[in-house]
Subunit: 149 residues, 2 copies
DNA sequence: GTTCTGCTTGACGTTAACGTAAAGTGAAGA
DNA sequence: TCTTCACTTTACGTTAACGTCAAGCAGAAC
């Protein structure tokens, strides 16, 4: 359990509902970094690239669950080989959507279709690569048999 | 049909079996580049990185089907987000295998297992990403409905 | 107070994967 | 012979995605 803050005892009912005891969790940059096994530098860089926009408390960055999810999506995108620019393109869809006009919404559907096709291509590449791996393994085991019969 | 070479007429039986008319196809660097929609520079770079080792006829590079397949595998690896170093690691398996000793062969099996796990992770990432796309599309269409009911 | 942490902003460095420009070669066609 | 064309090497340039200091601040601990 974390030690109680030095400001105001727990028992006092909070005048600000945002500061309730069982509030949504927040994270410092270091916590988030450790959580995802990246460096704080990486997280700041993603912010600079428009992928994150954490709250500021004084000069410190405060990350909420919303930001944590965004970071997770970003890292997943990276594993899929997307550039940060491409990832931002998708991430911004979330922001654009609520108040997007019809033209923007149709544009989003276009991008989605592209990404979908991309995913299918990747799945095919994976399938072929797995075949390659199977092939190499088979021949490798055969070579081992040949060595020690 | 390609024009006959200026050296020796076709009718003459070839003294070198390597130069038979219906020989295995070869490619110049430009042909291969166009074939895969990359630049010659890229192909030379892959050679420099140890991914290709084409035959030399004079100063020119001559690519055979073996090289074409390697390039195809390399580009597929790239689409999967592997670095050239990682791809080389796999490609070298082919070369190591024929005369590999038991220890090398077991090492190969290790690497194969790693790559396999990697593929599974990628498949999972793709699955999650497709879910995301589905989600965005659903909400996007809902927003469109809200605009023009 | 001072010391220690964990954060902050800047600024320059690094690596991978090519791009690009320059200058030369060699064979084939006009 | 001259030109063209596709190739060659060499070498410096570029972009993305961070890494790596440096110097400084703010609050908690001592």
């Amino acid at each position: 359990m974390p030690k109680p803050s030095h400001i105001a005892p727990q028992a006092t009912p909070p005048d600000n509902p945002e500061e309730t005891v069982s509030d949504k969790p927040t994270y410092a940059i270091g916590e988030l970094a450790e959580m995802f096994e990246v460096t704080p530098r990486t997280i700041r860089f993603y912010e600079q690239e428009g992928l994150l926009a954490p709250e500021r408390r004084g000069q410190r960055r405060i990350y909420h669950d919303k930001d944590r999810v965004r970071l997770k999506l970003t890292l997943r995108g990276k594993r899929l080989g997307f550039t940060l620019a491409e990832i931002r393109e998708v991430v911004e869809l979330y922001d654009t959507m609520p108040d997007g006009n019809a033209r923007q919404l149709h544009r989003i559907l276009e991008i989605l279709a592209e990404k979908r096709a991309d995913m299918e291509q990747r799945k095919e590449d994976i399938r072929l690569m797995q075949n390659e791996l199977d092939d190499v393994e088979t021949r490798c085991r055969a070579a081992l048999e040949g060595l020690a019969p």
